[in-house]
Symmetry: C2
Subunit: 190 residues, 2 copies
């Protein structure tokens, strides 16, 4: 997605620790017009699929999911909650996720009411690196008996293993851009 590359070149920046930051338009301040371009592009990538529901994860995923749903006939969007400790009574699907960036473990939790067996689910998230958040969402879908149609990612870190693991599981991954390298303050794309 050429527009996204331009946006990253213009508004993104790289920290001292070589982390690509896109907080001015994607995950802290949100550019609504641009989110709509992202939604259109996800629709374009998955236009031949029947999709019943979008599943995403808080926080940024919520904005992406809901805007994207507008291009899929306003299908429902469910977001997985990140919860440190899960109380036993909760009637929910849950999966433990390791966050590499924050060096913490959390649970992604989705109430059983909101994903039903046989539903066709599109998973949406902002970043794909090691794929841990997406694995958590996939595990939730697997538990529910629903079906994963694909995974839509805004920015994939092509130098990490997320895509490899997902493709090994036979999951279709559509990333709007793949970052090849982040080095010396510079970003290069695949």
């Amino acid at each position: 997605m050429e527009l996204l590359k331009e946006k990253i070149r213009k508004e993104g920046y790289v920290t001292k620790d070589n982390i690509l930051m896109v907080d001015s338009f994607l995950n802290h301040q949100m550019d609504v017009e641009f989110f709509n371009e992202i939604g259109k592009e996800f629709k374009n990538r998955f236009k031949d699929e029947k999709i019943d529901k979008i599943l995403t994860i808080e926080a940024t995923g919520i904005g992406l999911g809901i805007i994207t749903a507008q291009y899929f006939d306003n299908i429902p969007v469910v977001f997985g909650k990140k919860i440190d400790r899960v109380s036993r009574e909760l009637d929910a699907y849950k999966s433990e996720v390791m966050s590499f960036t924050k060096k913490t473990v959390y649970n992604v939790v989705v109430d059983k009411k909101f994903i039903k067996p046989g539903e066709k689910i599109l998973i949406i998230d902002d970043f794909l690196a090691n794929g841990c958040a997406v694995f958590g969402l996939m595990d939730v879908v697997r538990q529910s008996g629903a079906e994963i149609v694909g995974v839509g990612i805004v920015i994939e870190k092509g130098f990490q293993n997320g895509r490899k693991y997902l493709e090994e599981k036979g999951v279709r991954v559509e990333s709007l851009v793949v970052v090849d390298k982040v080095e010396g303050g510079e970003v290069s794309f695949k």
Copy 2:
């Protein structure tokens, strides 16, 4: 907002602890068409105001903020992050918030880049009860030197003190519905 009352009567439910749950359309599964009705209504309430930016807080606020912004000429949306411990280096406005429901304290954090002195800010959130989350956002705006045009709330708990505190500070509060009472599994509106 009559449509919201109907939606709450039809899809909302009350827990054993007398908590109103709206997780099927607002804060876990999201009804995108309905979010658009909310956005239109916020626009209607604040149509005479000049607004530069929407400020909200994760998680549900993100979906509400971004859909609402579509009715305000796609102005930027900034969401406050909920962070347990704030590292000192962060160049951000921060305010400590007490969560009554979860009995915890967190910081709402907004990078200084994203709110500038003089900007006219509309604060949006899903619930107003004691007003703690909104106070945190207001404190952030005050630190930045920006101006609060008003606060837009989807569901106000009229039996708690949030509105009183906000109005004492001279802030305009627009709630789409005011819940008067939650008792014996039933919700009544003001």
